[in-house]
């Protein structure tokens, strides 16, 4: 055996081994632990959804799915990390309507390439918002509220958990569609915001449904309309905003993303697993108990959904004249 030949064989063997380590085959995925970046703090809704789904992915794939909270700048910091992660399926991220459909318009500068975006995996869950008003305002329906707001433009206030959140923009969308003027009062968390609505310091708010529903049941606030296309299970008596303004939809959605350029087979594989997890009765029950609607769809459907959402919020932001950051 000549030395030359030995080198050749070694080179070939090396090539083979290299091929084995390539994440080419989606069949072998995942062969090590996977990180799911949550661009928000632990304990919030996005974190909860990521952990619930992550736990089940663990069981299904026999690999650890580790949740890493990386909050900051409305989700931009964590998503910046996701965009820079290796596109091999071993780093995933949980995005929301704010981080993946609103920030695109709201922020002038993003820490990632807006055009390249992300590889959508699957929509996980949607949470409707509900318009609640303090009883002192003495309106019981949306038309009554609109009458009042038209009579006294700008006099009444609505609370939100921050500029550009789905809670704030639901209010802006309502103002635009109803042709009314309200004063926006912004808080750092939805907890502080709903507290001031319950106390009567602020008149109303579009709050995420689980916490708001409890305040409604206790009679602290009145619910006028939910912002999902259909009625919400937690508040079956409350009409939809879409019944007054056709097509009105402002839900807080949460979905799984991969870095741009992740092999489609791997994205497909994770997406399928997430879909199956979300169809399990135990998981459905858990999510519904939180006021959320379990979703699950294909990467292509999710991508289309995001497009529609991004356009809708861009129009709302423009129409309302929300200053860009």
């Amino acid at each position: 055996m000549t030395f030359k030949r030995l080198v050749k064989i070694a080179g070939f063997a090396g090539l083979l081994m290299g091929a084995a380590f390539q994440p080419l085959s989606a069949e072998e995925y995942p062969s090590k632990s996977v990180t799911i970046i949550v661009p928000f703090a632990a304990g919030g809704n996005t974190d909860a959804f990521a952990r619930l789904v992550g736990q089940e992915l663990d069981k299904r794939f026999g690999q650890r799915f580790i949740i890493e909270n990386k909050p900051g700048a409305g989700g931009n910091v964590g998503l910046g990390d996701l965009s820079r992660a290796k596109a091999d399926g071993y780093t995933l991220g949980m995005g929301t309507v704010s981080s993946n459909a609103i920030n695109q318009t709201l922020y002038k500068v993003l820490p990632y390439d807006k055009d390249k975006g992300f590889a959508p995996v699957s929509l996980v869950a949607t949470l409707p918002n509900v318009l609640v008003v303090n009883p002192k305002l003495s309106v019981k329906t949306v038309p009554e509220l609109i009458d009042l707001l038209k009579k006294e433009p700008g006099k009444h206030t609505y609370a939100s958990s921050g500029v550009g959140t789905s809670i704030h923009l639901a209010g802006e969308l309502f103002s635009t569609r109803a042709g009314v003027k309200m004063t926006h009062v912004s808080y750092k968390s939805s907890g502080q915001a709903i507290m001031d609505v319950v106390a009567g310091h602020v008149d109303m708010m579009f709050d995420n449904i689980p916490t708001a529903a409890e305040q409604v049941k206790a009679g602290k606030v009145l619910s006028l309309a939910v912002t999902s296309a259909g009625k919400a299970d937690l508040l079956p008596e409350t009409p939809t905003m879409a019944s007054y303004f056709p097509g009105f939809e402002a839900t807080s959605w949460h979905g799984l993303f991969a870095p741009p350029g992740t092999p489609p087979e791997i994205v497909e594989k994770v997406s399928k697993a997430v879909g199956e997890i979300l169809r399990e009765p135990a998981m459905r029950q858990k999510l519904e108990g939180m006021g959320a609607k379990p979703e699950g769809n294909t990467p292509a459907e999710f991508a289309k959904f995001i497009d529609v959402e991004t356009k809708k919020w861009a129009e709302t932001i423009k129409a309302a004249g929300v200053p860009l950051q």
Binding site: A41, A42, G43, G44, N45, D47, A48, R51, L52, Q55, I67, E68, N69, K70, P71, G72, A73, G74, N76, V77, G80, L106, V109, P111, G154, K155, T157, G162, V163, G164, T183, H184, V185, S186, Y187, K188, S189, G191, Q192, I194, M195, D196, V198, A199, H201, V202, P210, T211, A213, E214, Q215, K217, A218, K220, K286, M290, G291, V322, P323, Q325
Partner: protein, 499 residues
Amino acid sequence: MEFVSDLWLGASTAFLPMNLVYCFVGVLLGTAIGVLPGLGPTATIAMLLPMTFELQPVSALIMLAGIFYGAQYGGSTTAILINLPGESSSVVTAIDGYQMARKGRAGAALATAALGSFFAGTVSTLLLAVAAPPLAEIALSFGPAEYFSLMILGLVASVALASGSLLKAFAMIVFGLALGLVGTDVETGAARYTFGIPELYDGLNFVAVSMGIFGICEILRNLESESERTVGVKRVSGLMLAKDDLKRIVAPVLRGTALGSILGVLPGGGAMLSSFAAYALEKRVSSNRAEFGKGAIEGIAAPESANNAGAQTSFIPMLTLGIPGNPVMALMVGAMIIQGITPGPNVISSQPALFWGMIVSMWIGNLMLVVLNLPLIGLWVRLLTVPYSMLFPAIIVFCCIGAYSINNNIFDVLVMAGFSIVGFALSKMRFEPAPLLLGFILGPMLEENLRRAMLIGQGNPSIFVTSPLSLVLLLIAVGLLALVLSPRIRKTREEAFVE
């Protein structure tokens, strides 16, 4: 008799062997992690939250509450031993606690913190059991206008925090206020002083800033004059409190407990304000005024009692209204929601075992904390006898881990490093860091509430005086200001503090 049967229901839940174990595990883990620099209650709970997902809801909450007290107490331990307040409420503990440690009285300081906390925890838990719903009403009566006036009062009172020049204290408060402005403007969303760095959009992180300005800066100072430091720690004497000490802490503990119980109910920083307020109050009324800033035991007893009382009563808005008043409570609410219980005004009636079980377990948790920590004091104090050349690299490593773990981001470590240099420069010029941190905490709250109140009042500032509560707070602030500026007081102040 309803009260007794309620407590009985709570006790029968909390004393289940399983729940006692979870309470103990929570307190133990909380103390163990909380004692690491930079890991305060929020970070510790966030880290350990997933552990509770598989538990029964009551057990999960009991364990989380245990972690909360444990971590809070752990923060005070580092504040006293190595001048490293891990969270906002132990900033003032560091002032006199660290001075006591330097005089070889770390044991007494830690014991004071433990006993004061336990007493405050007992009283405030009882208060929570008897009067949670009416106290929640107080929380609701505080709107933006009232908060603004409260913050003004807090700022005026904070001048009392300084032990040196009034002008320098004032400069530090203003510097702190300015630092607090960094980040996204809450009302308009405009980015201020962020220089395009996404990590700055949420402002400078308190833990990173305070670790830099206190802890790392202290290391720099010690390295500069190492001989002084080794002398300081060798004279470790008296782990427990002398009779005289006990006599001195009774009144401060009582005042601290009262103040903390009331302020803790207020969401959005009430509990945090309570330790500052208790310290400021103590400094005004104590007969040992001259000792403050140089290792006065009252300066530990009052704020430690206040922050523990505040920690208990900060559960009130969450348990009775379902509204989280601070980040820790927001985490608790998140945990409850994952457990399938959405907290709301009906939790007391719909989940009585959960509500009362938690209240009873709070007291058990406090008891466990004191039982666990009193024997540990000896161990902590011995830690100080480790040669400093070995101790300080360890502290720096833990600080870096702590800073990183806030947001899992290297940026906060850099902030900490930067502020250690700022802190060092300030200490060279004899500026004190405590007023700076107070300004840093109060600044954003002051601004947000001012602007919220103006929006709600349609731009009319009369909202601050038409609300009776707000008016009273403002009048107290004006009165206090007059006191500070009056020549007689100023003279005694100078006599007391400038030597």
